[in-house]
């Protein structure tokens, strides 16, 4: 009797896991299809759009580029050089040194010959203490804020306080931007006055040649971990974000590259300090605010490859990053739980948030149990070979199709990896990513769930490699 009950439980649980994974993959498929349509429209449009005219245009909205920096000595100078070289008529660059313990500030001050100035500004958002503001006559649109450590969100808030333009762009210190990135990110604000935020795609810079802060030759990394992340980032951005953008329910704008209307961000109190997912947290606040105030608003995503960043090349770094992302996700969802299944918030409340809760927060648990229990049940004979084969198809084969589908999207749209060799390598990795890499990241995300309470406020450190004039080092 007991054995029958256990058998029934195991089989039911197996059905649940397969059903869950199948629904998850079907949702990913829908994302892929929505994204394909949106990207097709976007690509056709940019083929005849003339961005060059906007580079010189007086009608573009001026932008403040905010760069929070904590112990970024390795890459900060290249980053600043790249930012100062962007093609845009009017913008400012504000670097916020968030209490670095290395020589980040000293490097910037000496390289760019900056001087401490007495500049009062409106501290609308409360932040940690500002130690000083640095400027230079030679580069009028560059400002450095030195402040007491308060975290990324706090640093961004300090930057917002000092910024003078109506739109700001939050950029990571290790990001490299394409020269026309500001024009591309501002266009949704120009095209539609209801746009309050725009997210951009983040591409993997590892392996590419970067000279004076500009990507000159896009290559695939020699590091396998970084190559897997290319597939993963394409999947997350080209399908996930584009898919939600198609439904006007985007919940995440990457902290590495996100533009916001300043007055709306001030209205919601800026970034929330002490949170690991400050990017998602702010977007949820914007959704909540707009829903409460019954305002027309849009949060957009631009798929142009305009921002390149370093991804972790060591398993330890990747683990810290994925754990942090998972914790940030849970934290943000808990803070805004009243939006979930709340019809007042439209598709965000009824579709996007429940999806994130069920298929992003809980998926590491379900996937992990599937990887362990189903083979175990199969070995013990609780499930038969047909059932187990079905599980393998849903998990692995379906996953491979989605990965290759994403690659096809990239090939058809921006085609940043144009050679046959690169395509062959990426095809291989898009298959292999489902055998080992995905399982590893599932474990890291699971760790994030288990350690949520303990590690809620810990950022961790990821090793940066220096951008070189030739192929990057540490390959």
């Amino acid at each position: 009797m007991l054995e029958t009950i256990i058998h029934a439980l195991f089989v039911s649980f197996s059905y649940f896991i397969i059903g869950y994974l199948l629904i998850q993959n079907i949702i990913y498929t829908f994302h892929l299809i929505f994204s394909a349509f949106k990207l097709s429209h976007y690509i056709k449009k940019i083929r005849y759009s003339d961005y060059k005219r906007y580079l010189r245009s007086d009608n573009m909205i001026p932008i403040s580029v905010l760069v929070p920096a904590y112990n970024e000595m390795a890459t900060i100078n290249e980053n600043i050089t790249s930012l100062l070289d962007l093609s845009y008529l009017e913008y400012e660059v504000i670097i916020i040194n968030d209490g670095s313990t290395d020589d980040t500030l000293e490097m910037i001050v000496s390289t760019f010959d900056m001087k401490l100035v007495k500049q009062p500004f409106r501290a609308i958002l409360k932040t940690e203490e500002i130690n000083g503001i640095y400027r230079t006559i030679e580069i009028p649109n560059l400002t450095v804020i030195d402040k007491k450590n308060g975290g990324k969100a706090d640093a961004l808030n300090a930057g917002i306080n000092l910024s003078k333009y109506p739109v700001f762009l939050a950029v990571d210190a290790d990001s490299v931007l394409e020269t026309d990135s500001l024009v591309r990110v501002i266009m949704p604000f120009v095209d539609d006055k209801d746009t309050v935020a725009v997210g951009g795609i983040v591409r993997v810079a590892n392996g590419s040649e970067i000279r004076n802060g500009v990507i000159t030759n896009i290559q695939l990394p020699n590091n396998n971990l970084a190559t897997f992340q290319i597939i993963e980032y394409l999947q997350a951005f080209l399908t996930g974000r584009m898919g939600w953008d198609a439904l006007n329910s985007l919940l995440i704008i990457s902290g590495a590259f996100g533009a916001f209307k300043k007055n709306i961000v001030l209205a919601v109190g800026g970034f929330t300090p002490g949170t690991l997912g400050e990017d998602m947290e702010l977007v949820l606040k914007l959704h909540e605010y707009a829903g409460k105030e019954n305002k027309d608003y849009k949060i957009k995503f631009i798929p142009d490859p305009v921002c390149w960043t370093q991804v972790p090349q060591k398993i330890g770094d990747l683990r810290r990053q994925r754990k942090r992302w998972q914790i940030g996700l849970i934290d943000s969802l808990l803070k805004h739980k009243k939006l979930i299944l709340n019809p007042k918030y439209g598709k965000v409340g009824m579709l996007a948030l429940p999806y994130y809760l069920i298929f992003e927060v809980l998926s590491p648990i379900v996937e992990f149990l599937g990887y362990i229990l189903l083979p175990f049940y199969f070995i013990l004979g609780y499930i038969n070979v047909k059932f187990f084969t079905l599980y393998l198809i849903v998990t692995f084969l379906y996953g491979i199709i989605l990965s290759i589908g994403v690659l096809l999207l990239e090939e058809y749209t921006f085609n940043k990896y144009p050679t046959v060799t690169q395509i062959l390598k990426l095809s291989l990795f898009s298959i292999l990513t489902n055998f080992g890499y995905r399982q590893m990241t599932t474990l890291f995300r699971l760790e994030g769930i288990l350690r949520f309470r303990k590690d809620k406020n810990t950022w961790g450190v990821i090793e940066r490699t220096v951008f070189d004039s030739g192929p990057t080092i540490n390959q």
Binding site: S57, D58, Q119, P120, K386, I393, L397, G405, L424
Partner: protein
């Protein structure tokens, strides 16, 4: 039942495997085809570039022969070669109106590029192709294409509308351009909807007009639609010719806040000190954005008459008004003499804002944007 499950699973495996294989093959084949296409374009470009550059350099003095034109007529029948020719010719047409660009435009017509684009406008329903053709016809500055372009101004797709209007602006025919705005206005009246193109897009279109700009501003600034009027006032400010000031000044007390602000801003951009008293009066506007723009404009004009009024607005309740007033005081040469009295005043807001402006003064040579 078991057999059914077996066959479902078998079918699933085979289907998925086939899909994966086909996708992979498609990926690789597409890449190879694209590479070959790219090579073909590159080879064609290498083969024609030298001769074409010589032809373009001398086109003002000597129009190409019939034989040369025929060779290009044959070339454009091939899609890759047409793309190469389009790119080179359009790039050359970017320079302002000259004998060279007029003849280049004529060459594009003789080759058949313009007729191809017009045919797309008339026969194709694809909005992307229509937008692209409008854009190209604008680059060619082809008056022949005006009726075809005008027919798409009322297209439901915003992109098409935008590119059609932009093309008309580049071609520079004032009558066609005004007709387009009549169509837009009529459309919005009938549908009851606003004109959906964003204001910045509209300003871009206005700024791009290559015909008689003064005549355009004189006509459009008085448009019945305040939205269009505001756009052209802003564009007139960008254009910078004081001749439009007399048209613009009539709206400095307009009931429409946007038009009022646009007028105030444009007068500042035009640096026309004939209307300085009107701008000083605008510092008392009920709307803070209008006050802020007025403060900024007075600084741009740089007339010391405004200083007393600007000193008062240093204590305005809105930060932007205070900042722009302080900036303007610092811009006006005599204004710097007042800084000491401001600093010895009790008004903390005034002191803070002047200090902020002074700290930025070397670098902040243009007024703060974000307002107006």
């Amino acid at each position: 039942m078991n057999n059914l499950i077996y066959s479902i699973i078998y079918t699933l495996i085979v289907t998925f495997a086939v899909i994966i294989l086909l996708l992979q093959v498609y990926l690789i084949v597409k890449r190879i085809i694209d590479s070959l296409g790219q090579r073909k374009r590159s080879n064609y470009q290498k083969s024609i570039l030298t001769d074409l550059n010589i032809l373009i350099d001398h086109i003002a003095e000597q129009f190409p022969s019939e034989e040369t034109i025929r060779s290009y007529q044959n070339a454009i029948l091939d899609k890759s070669k047409r793309a190469v020719l389009e790119e080179i010719l359009i790039h050359q047409l970017e320079s302002p109106k000259s004998e060279k660009s007029i003849n280049l435009s004529k060459l594009c017509d003789h080759i058949g590029l313009i007729d191809l684009e017009i045919s797309t406008l008339l026969n194709n329903k694809n909005p992307y192709k229509i937008s692209r053709s409008c854009k190209n016809l604008g680059e060619y500055r082809s008056k022949k294409a005006l009726p075809a372009i005008l027919s798409h101004v009322s297209n439901n797709t915003l992109d098409v509308k935008y590119n059609a209007l932009l093309a008309l602006a580049k071609i520079g025919d004032l009558n066609a351009y005004l007709d387009a705005f009549i169509i837009l206005f009529f459309e919005s009246e009938v549908s009851g909807d606003q004109i959906y193109l964003s204001q910045r897009s509209m300003i871009e279109i206005a700024d791009s007009f290559e015909g008689d700009k003064l005549e355009m501003y004189n006509t459009m600034i008085d448009s019945n639609t305040s939205y269009i009027s505001t756009v052209f006032i802003k564009s007139a400010g960008n254009y910078g010719d004081k001749a439009v000031s007399e048209k613009i000044i009539r709206y400095v007390k307009d009931s429409n806040r946007n038009r009022r602000a646009a007028c105030t801003k444009a007068l500042g951009q035009l640096r026309d000190n004939r209307y300085i008293n009107d701008l000083i009066e605008a510092l008392d506007d009920a709307d803070w954005e209008c006050r802020a723009v007025a403060a900024k404009s007075l600084g741009l004009i740089g007339d010391a008459q405004a200083l007393n009024a600007l000193m008062k607005t240093l204590s305005d309740k809105e930060w932007w008004v205070r900042y722009n007033s302080a900036w303007s005081i610092v811009q006006i040469p005599e204004g710097l003499n007042l800084v000491e009295s401001i600093m010895s005043n009790d008004d903390q807001f005034a002191k803070d804002i002047i200090m902020s402006v002074l700290a930025n003064s070397k670098s902040n040579l243009v007024p703060l944007r974000g307002v107006g």
